[in-house]
Symmetry: C2
């Protein structure tokens, strides 16, 4: 089905706090993650909050990647959503987990565009 | 917990196909949805695909709203993610469902920033 997509929701904990507060670094990581998964980057929008935290999105032809970081808690909330079956969103998510040096992560994959939303148990990448 | 968030995932079907392909309209709907929920808009990025379809994001101080539309299938994939407990993401999601004239929707709310990701059964807004 053309509407089919895969949406990886990842909760990253015990990350490198300096990297979680570095907007330029995060933006580069997210663009690289998209490219590494084989996605085509269309729009990039990031925002730095005071005193800390970064939010941002990379819109790809195949959907999006987002982050909200909480450096003070070592936490980042990540979404990688890819439409179609050409790209594996876990490739991008795993790249991000490594780049932010997450000590642990909890991840679920949500099928999109297929009917009722059904979600498996969370796991680590 | 400061990292606490609520992430509404909504699958909208049988939408108004003309509206699903109208980027300006969708952008306005998403900004209005964010404001209606009481959020503060920080960044707006939308992209129109050829021959059809719109992807976009509104980054708010409290996280984000995203859409990917498939006019040819009357389908839109929506995410409304709000951090904290001040804002109800369902208010924005419901506004979007109405504005896109979705005949039906399937929605789940995912708790974020709280530990393992656990998801309830999907429901209609």
């Amino acid at each position: 089905m053309d509407t089919m997509g895969r949406h990886v929701i990842a909760e990253l904990w015990d990350c490198n706090e300096g990297k979680l507060n570095d907007m330029s670094y995060i933006e580069q990581v997210f663009v690289d993650a998209a490219l590494k998964a084989g996605a085509e980057v269309r729009e990039v929008a990031f925002h730095k909050f005071a005193p800390h935290g970064v939010s941002g999105v990379v819109i790809i032809s195949e959907s999006h990647l987002t982050i909200h970081s909480f450096p003070e808690h070592g936490y980042a909330s990540i979404d990688v959503y890819t439409c179609g079956d050409r790209i594996d969103p876990n490739v991008a998510a795993h790249f991000i987990v490594e780049a932010l040096e997450a000590g642990r992560n909890e991840t679920v994959e949500v099928p999109r565009g297929m009917g009722p939303v059904e979600v498996e148990q969370s796991r680590a990448l």
